[in-house]
């Protein structure tokens, strides 16, 4: 496939070998005559490339797919079921009525053995956390420095309330997810850890250790969760997780970890507070329990595409091979270049 061609290959003078070599290189450069590799897409190389691609992609695909299958996932959509029967026709009035206690119980049946840590996620669908108005509506400086930093115009309209600045300001903070979950197995509470769910760099460098929520959710319109004003932002990990905006309109966020293994057949009882309003924009809420593997969680997509493309490459390679064998271009045959270029 490769051929190295360098013209002007005159034997260099022995005495000033190094110098002449350097000047030769410069000369070759100036004369556009540097030794070069000129790959040509010959049928053999094309067949080889596709073959190789197939042979590399298929194992990767298998491994990836296997890893994906290793992760056990329980998904439970609860936003519809958790609305009491009488509010089914008017979910919005239910969710916006702050006087109703919105607790709800869900039972999740474990099908396969799930090894700790079992990650707990909530998933929101049709939620534009990537909307420009939303993404921009925060102040990283304020999150780090608190009230010391006052240029928070980007947080509008959640910059200040009652004439006082809000910490943390902005729409993201204001709209924080506020459903809560507790998990129990056969009446005993499962050990759920809610630490270390945020990225380390966020905890340490982006959210101030001495920054406490001030004047938060004090306005006329309450968005989402309230924050404990006694805990510094850097320790409010669920808040930190929320603040990292999702890329797409359907996303999961880490809620916590169940630190116990779950046997198949176990029924996990979930007590949740269905506070968060996704009803006005026909969003969905899901609760997910999932184990992880070396690759992450369950997602067959990558594995399958690897397999498909890998096997297609082999097919393409074989097609090329057949075409080549059936229709070889014999030495000196010019029938392949019939297409006349000259007018």
């Amino acid at each position: 496939m490769m051929e190295v061609e360098g013209s002007m290959n005159r034997a260099p003078d022995q005495s000033s070998f190094l110098r002449s070599r350097r000047s030769k290189a410069l000369y070759q450069f100036k004369q556009q005559n540097l030794p070069a590799c000129k790959p040509v897409l010959t049928p053999i190389s094309v067949i080889t490339v596709f073959m190789l691609m197939g042979f590399v992609f298929i194992p990767i695909g298998l491994i990836t797919l296997r890893a994906s299958r290793d992760a056990i996932e329980i998904i439970d959509r609860y936003d519809v079921e958790c609305i009491p029967e009488e509010y089914k026709t008017n979910k919005l009035s239910y969710i916006t009525d702050s006087s109703i206690l919105k607790n709800c119980t869900r039972y999740l049946k474990v099908q396969k053995y799930m090894k700790a840590p079992i990650f707990i996620y909530y998933q929101l669908d049709n939620y534009y956390q990537n909307h420009r108005r939303y993404v921009k509506s925060r102040s990283d400086q304020q999150l780090l420095h608190g009230l010391e930093y006052s240029h928070t115009s980007s947080c509008e309209p959640e910059e200040s309330s009652n004439g006082l600045p809000i910490v943390p300001c902005g729409l993201i903070a204001w709209s924080m997810f506020n459903d809560t979950f507790t998990f129990s197995r056969e009446r005993t509470k499962l050990k759920v850890s809610r630490n270390n769910i945020a990225w380390k760099s966020d905890r340490e460098q982006k959210f101030g250790k001495n920054v406490y929520p001030v004047n938060f959710q004090n306005g006329t319109l309450i968005g989402g969760a309230k924050l404990d004003p006694k805990i510094p932002l850097s320790d409010q990990e669920d808040f930190i997780v929320w603040m990292r905006a999702a890329a797409l309109l359907s996303f999961r966020k880490l809620y916590g970890r169940i630190e116990e293994d779950l046997e198949p057949g176990t029924v996990v009882e979930v007590n949740l507070m269905n506070n968060y309003n996704t009803y006005s924009f026909s969003g969905q809420k899901k609760l997910i329990l999932s184990t992880s593997n070396w690759l992450g969680g369950r997602n067959d997509f990558l594995g399958i595409t690897y397999l498909v493309v890998g096997s297609s490459s082999i097919v393409i390679s074989i097609i090329f091979m057949l075409l080549h064998l059936k229709n070889p271009r014999p030495y000196g045959d010019n029938s392949w270049n019939k297409k006349s270029l000259a007018s």
């Binding site: 051929e3 013209s7 004369q31 005559n33 070069a36 000129k38 040509v40 897409l41 010959t42 094309v46 990767i60 992760a71 919005l92 916006t96 840590p117 990650f119 996620y121 534009y128 990537n130 909307h131 420009r132 939303y134 990283d140 309209p157 959640e158 729409l171 204001w174 270390n196 990225w199 760099s201 982006k206 968005g223 989402g224 990292r244 999702a246 890329a247 797409l248 996303f251 999961r252 880490l254 309003n277 006005s280 924009f281 992880s292 690759l295 992450g296 969680g297 997602n299 997509f301 990558l302 595409t305 690897y306 493309v309 393409i316 000196g332 010019n334 270049n337 270029l341 000259a342 007018s343």
Partner: protein, 1084 residues
């Protein structure tokens, strides 16, 4: 150029053809008018009148800028480009709250790009400045009165000093490719606006949905639409959509490659450096390298369709050499012409060029100017031993006597040199001298020469009494002298063109006619100028009669004096006895036939525009293989008896009318011939030869289309006796008439108009002054360098620039479409998929160097193969590499790549657990992964697209990818207040996650599959010409002549010119085409 002497030659005035007379009047009607002409006091610099006029100095400034004007003017120049202006507008808009990204990240690349362009401008202007300084300090001779000259610096000249000046504002030329590129940019603008428009509509609709409902809560309550400013206000959604449109236009500015112009400029400058440094275009004798004076036209060099060439000084060196002769039916002279040499080098099987090719010629001994004759049979007095010594003697005597040259004897050495009217004539006398018949003195009525006395064997001086000179003119095509020799015999010695001479031979004077004719034809085919030599003895009575009539005629004052003389001399020059023929080579410059042959094989049409007379031009046509014997010559001139008669009778309108009619008729006849030949599908080739006078009419508005039609149907076109203006007009006609690229090449001041009018003007930096070079775009020292300039550099530059532009748009579309697709998932809120700095640095850092390297270094085919397969050049002429098909193809490739990158990344990172710690992928991770894929894919695409890898390509391609990772780490290490969401994104999130690497790996291969498959299939089943050559090189078939010829063959067409075609034609004629061709291939 001159500051005050702005007597601009307005191009439109100069070149729009209005007929000689009217334009003359028009020019003069402006005298005294403002800005057009002025009163000058010649050679009275100190006269009070001149002082009063207070002319400014002669300081020449050709620079574009002064230190003061540089900043504003160059900025203006930069932003005059529509793309740059667009970026300026988006840059300014980015300062407002409309901006989707931070202003600094948008302005910095723009500043960088503009600064780079300005630095380039400054460097170029500095070059011009240096040239100016040299120019201004140049010394000229100024007439000081009384015929004396003093030396004066150019800058100190005053108006009225007498020197020559000739300067016009050079036209600014842009290449076809760049003009097409502008169209692509407009297309991209269209795409950007369309996408913004669509986005704005969707955005407007979605924003309106958010308006406050009855319940008091809104749809997407988390956006607080109830408190939104105008940009997101659901109640004023149409307004918000309009504002959004501007934001989107800014965001999608990544579709337009901001660095395109500056990259192309850098690339072109570097290409020019390569052209200037090419050792194979360096003329050692004069220490003249090639010099690309403008870098704008590099790729245009690869698209030349027609070359319009000057003759003297360009094709020929303007020196005549006596090289062969045929005396008494025997051919003498073993010298080899340039054409024969080229042909001999190509084929040793051909028998076309005479039998003495293989003779190794003794080239030793001092070279004599005008004489290149070697033949031991006649040299050094050996001629006396020849059988026909008497004829030989007469022949040489004729050479020594029948001419109008004047000898100059060097007192010191006693050697004689000659001043002659034409270099041909000088060559004859020199030849006579070398044969031993040394003409050394001319008196009022005598011609003296030394010769060997056959009887005594000594050198004797002879004096011939010169009685009459019957002068040469183009109608007579002969000249004669009547002399009385020392024995008192009256002799008429005559030399002239074969067609007039053969018919004047006496019955008993035709002894050698057959042989001589044969030789003359051979000589003519070899590109030599031939003359027939003949004589007769004149009867005393006859002469007395003639002398009387002749003198009478000469002294007459009637209108028909000339025809009277013609008649009388015609009577005299009859019954001649043939001696032989001479062959003089109008010395071609080195390698000219070879170069023309290659250019012709490349499918380039070559027109010769010369001021010379028709015979000379035709001869040169033969010499350069632009004409060959069996070509049908369509000659258009006004030498018909009818016109001549009219010319005598006067009546300008009448002459004009008749001339016009005659020219049109001749053109129509020519066209009819062409059509007939074409419909008979014969392989006949045509040549059009037209003289200046006819050209005047042919170029008139009504007929120029006809003329062009005829001319383009002919294999070669020769315009003789053409004025500089006609040269320019013909150039313009070809340029605008065919719409193809024209290249004009010339060396003299009379070629300036042509050089400026053509798409590319190439000046020969020879001896004939600097004007041509100063007004050229590229200067080379020798015509033959044109071959390398066009076939190698031209082709490379063309293929490079076109690939480069295609790739530029590909990479920006790839990038832009990923941004757009992400938009679709943010309800078109104009949230960029990437970090601001990722966005803005894409064009500058992560994809710029490889594309520049592509533009500067890529070689689809090496120089050797460019020469070997000249037809490759047609890729440029037909613009195959920059066709809309290819451009759109690349664009679609970009769209596909973007779709692949976006959807694959989106799906494989879809709300799954992203890493073993259970974290999920946020915006920054999707953005980072997509961006990594984009960087990888566009760089790998580059690696796939180029066909030439040196260490440089490896460095820039893999370096760009590596630099992305390095940048990501460095940028991620900066405090989060600056790096925002890119903080530690690589170290913490991307790099440790296997899914990041697996996704990248998959996407980059997947995105390239379509291109790879396409290229493989194309290479295998529909290879382009350069790909065929790559095949040949790769498979090592280049040493298999038969195979190579299969590919080459198509370049040898019967209708082309050049000696390869000539040989092919003549072989075909002899019906041994295939055998011979095959035989010849072995020789390749």
């Amino acid at each position: 150029m001159t500051k005050c002497r702005r007597r601009r030659l307005h191009l439109s005035n100069i070149y729009a053809f209005k007929g000689r007379k009217s334009s003359f009047q028009e020019d003069h009607s402006h005298i005294g008018g403002p800005g057009f002409s002025r009163v000058v006091y010649c050679n009275e610099p100190n006269s009070p009148a001149a002082e009063r006029r207070n002319y400014t100095g002669n300081y020449v400034r050709s620079t574009k800028y002064t230190p003061a004007s540089f900043i504003p003017k160059s900025l203006f120049e930069q932003f005059r480009r529509v793309a740059n202006f667009y970026f300026l507008v988006t840059g300014i808009l980015s300062l407002t709250s409309l901006s989707p990204y931070s202003p600094i990240s948008a302005l910095l690349p723009l500043t960088f790009v503009i600064a780079a362009s300005m630095v380039k401008e400054a460097i170029e202007d500095w070059g011009r400045k240096k040239q100016d300084i040299e120019m201004n300090n140049r010394k000229v001779k100024v007439h000081d009165g009384n015929g004396k000259f003093r030396r004066e610096g150019w800058r100190n000249l005053k108006v009225g000093d007498i020197v020559i000046q000739n300067s016009t504002d050079p036209p600014s030329k842009r290449s076809r490719i760049e003009r097409k590129m502008d169209k692509i940019i407009y297309l991209m603008f269209g795409v950007v606006f369309l996408m913004s428009f669509i986005g704005s509509i969707v955005f407007g609709i979605e924003t309106r949905e958010d308006r406050v409902r009855n319940g008091g809560r809104t749809e997407r309550w988390y956006l607080r639409p109830d408190e939104a400013d105008i940009f997101f206000d659901p109640d004023r959604a149409p307004m918000a959509a309009i504002y959004h449109f501007f934001t989107a236009v800014m965001l999608y500015s990544y579709f337009i490659p901001i660095s395109l112009y500056v990259s192309i400029e850098i690339v072109k400058v570097l290409q020019s450096v390569f052209i200037n440094n090419d050792i194979l275009m360096y003329y050692e004798e004069n220490d003249k390298p090639a010099h690309a004076r403008t870098s704008n036209l590099n790729e245009e060099l690869g698209m030349v369709d027609t070359i319009l060439s000057d003759k003297t000084g360009t094709l020929t060196c303007n020196s005549m050499e006596f090289i062969k002769c045929s005396i008494a039916g025997t051919a003498y002279g073993r010298g080899i012409t340039e054409v024969e040499r080229s042909m001999a080098m190509r084929s040793n099987g051909s028998n076309l060029v005479g039998e003495d090719l293989d003779v190794v010629v003794d080239q030793s001994g001092p070279k004599i100017k005008g004489f290149n004759f070697q033949d031991e049979r006649v040299m050094k007095g050996n001629w006396v031993k020849q059988r026909d010594a008497a004829v030989l003697q007469k022949f040489f005597r004729l050479l020594a006597v029948c001419h109008t040259a004047i000898p100059e004897t060097d007192e010191a050495t006693g050697s004689v040199s000659y001043e002659a009217e034409s270099p041909d004539e000088a060559a004859f006398v020199v030849a006579a001298r070398e044969f031993g018949f040394e003409f050394f003195s001319r008196t009022q009525n005598g011609i003296s020469f030394r010769e060997l006395d056959l009887a005594s064997g000594k050198t004797v001086e002879r004096v011939y009494r010169l009685l009459n000179v019957l002068e040469f003119n183009s109608a007579r095509k002969r000249m004669s002298v009547i002399v009385r020799d020392e024995d008192g015999r009256l002799l008429l010695l005559s030399k002239g063109a074969d067609n007039v001479m053969f018919e004047r031979l006496a019955k008993n004077g035709r002894k050698f006619e057959e042989k001589t004719r044969e030789h003359v034809n051979e000589y003519a085919d070899a590109g030599l100028r031939t003359l027939i030599l003949a004589y007769r003895e004149v009867d005393e009575n006859e002469y007395i009669e003639f002398s009387k009539n002749f003198n009478e005629a000469k002294n007459s004052v009637t209108a028909d004096r000339e025809s009277l003389i013609d008649e009388i001399t015609d009577q005299m020059e009859r019954n001649l006895i043939l001696l032989g023929a001479t062959a003089v080579e109008d010395k071609l410059q080195n390698g000219v036939p070879d170069c023309i042959d290659k250019l012709a094989q490349a499918g380039i049409k070559i027109w010769v525009l010369t001021g010379d007379k028709m015979e000379t031009a035709i001869n040169i046509g033969f010499a350069c293989s632009l004409l060959r014997q069996e070509m049908k010559q369509i000659i258009i001139n006004l030498e018909t008896p009818h016109i001549k008669a009219l010319e005598k009778a006067g009546g300008k309108d009448e002459i004009e009318q008749a001339s016009r009619e005659s020219v049109v008729k001749q053109m129509e006849e020519g066209k009819a011939l062409l059509t007939a030949s074409r419909s008979a599908s014969s392989h006949e080739a045509f040549a059009l030869i037209i003289d200046g006078k006819s050209l005047t009419y042919a170029l008139e508005d009504d007929f120029k289309k006809k003329f062009l039609d005829l001319a383009t149907g002919c294999a070669s076109v020769i315009c003789c006796r053409s004025s500089p203006k006609q040269k320019a007009l013909v150039t313009r006609l070809v340029k605008s008439g065919t719409g193809k690229t024209t290249l004009a090449i010339g060396d003299g001041a009379n070629d300036v108009g042509m050089l400026q009018e053509a798409d590319i003007g190439v000046g020969i930096s020879g001896v004939e002054g600097m004007q041509a070079v100063m007004s050229s775009d590229i200067a080379i020292a020798q015509f033959r360098y044109l071959e390398r300039l066009l076939l190698v550099h031209g082709h490379w530059c063309y293929s490079r620039i076109s690939s480069m532009i295609c790739y530029f748009f590909y990479k920006n579309i790839t990038f832009g479409v990923t941004v757009f697709l992400y938009e679709a998932y943010t309800s078109f809120s104009a949230q960029p998929a990437y970090n601001d700095w990722f966005l803005s640095l894409f064009n500058v850092f992560f994809s710029s160097l490889p594309v520049i390297a592509l533009g500067v270094f890529d070689q689809d085919v090496s120089a050797r193969y460019c020469y070997k397969f000249p037809l490759l050049y047609q890729e440029g002429v037909q613009n195959l590499l920059f066709s809309w098909k290819r451009i759109i193809g690349w664009m679609f490739n970009g769209v596909f790549t973007a779709l692949a990158i976006f959807f694959l990344c989106k799906e494989s990172l879809k709300h799954q657990i992203y890493n073993p710690n259970g974290k999920t992928a946020g915006r920054e991770i999707l953005g980072g992964t997509m961006y990594t894929c984009v960087v990888w894919v566009v760089n790998l695409q580059m690696a796939l697209a180029i066909s030439y890898f040196t260490w440089l390509q490896h460095i820039v391609i893999w370096g760009s990818v590596a630099f992305w990772y390095i940048f990501l780490m460095i940028y991620g290490a900066i405090a989060p207040s600056f790096s925002t969401d890119a903080y530690k994104v690589f170290i913490e999130a991307l790099a440790p996650a296997p899914s990041y690497w697996l996704t990248t790996l998959f996407v980059m291969f997947f995105a390239l599959i379509p291109f790879f498959v396409f290229k493989s299939v194309q290479m295998r089943f529909f290879p382009g010409y350069h790909q065929m050559i790559q095949w040949i090189r790769y498979e090592g078939h280049s040493n298999d002549p038969e195979f190579v010829e299969m590919v080459r063959q198509r370049s040898i067409r019967p209708t082309t010119v050049g000696f390869t075609a000539r040989r092919a034609a003549s072989v075909r004629r002899s019906g041994r085409f295939h055998d011979q061709l095959n035989k010849n291939f072995i020789a390749f």
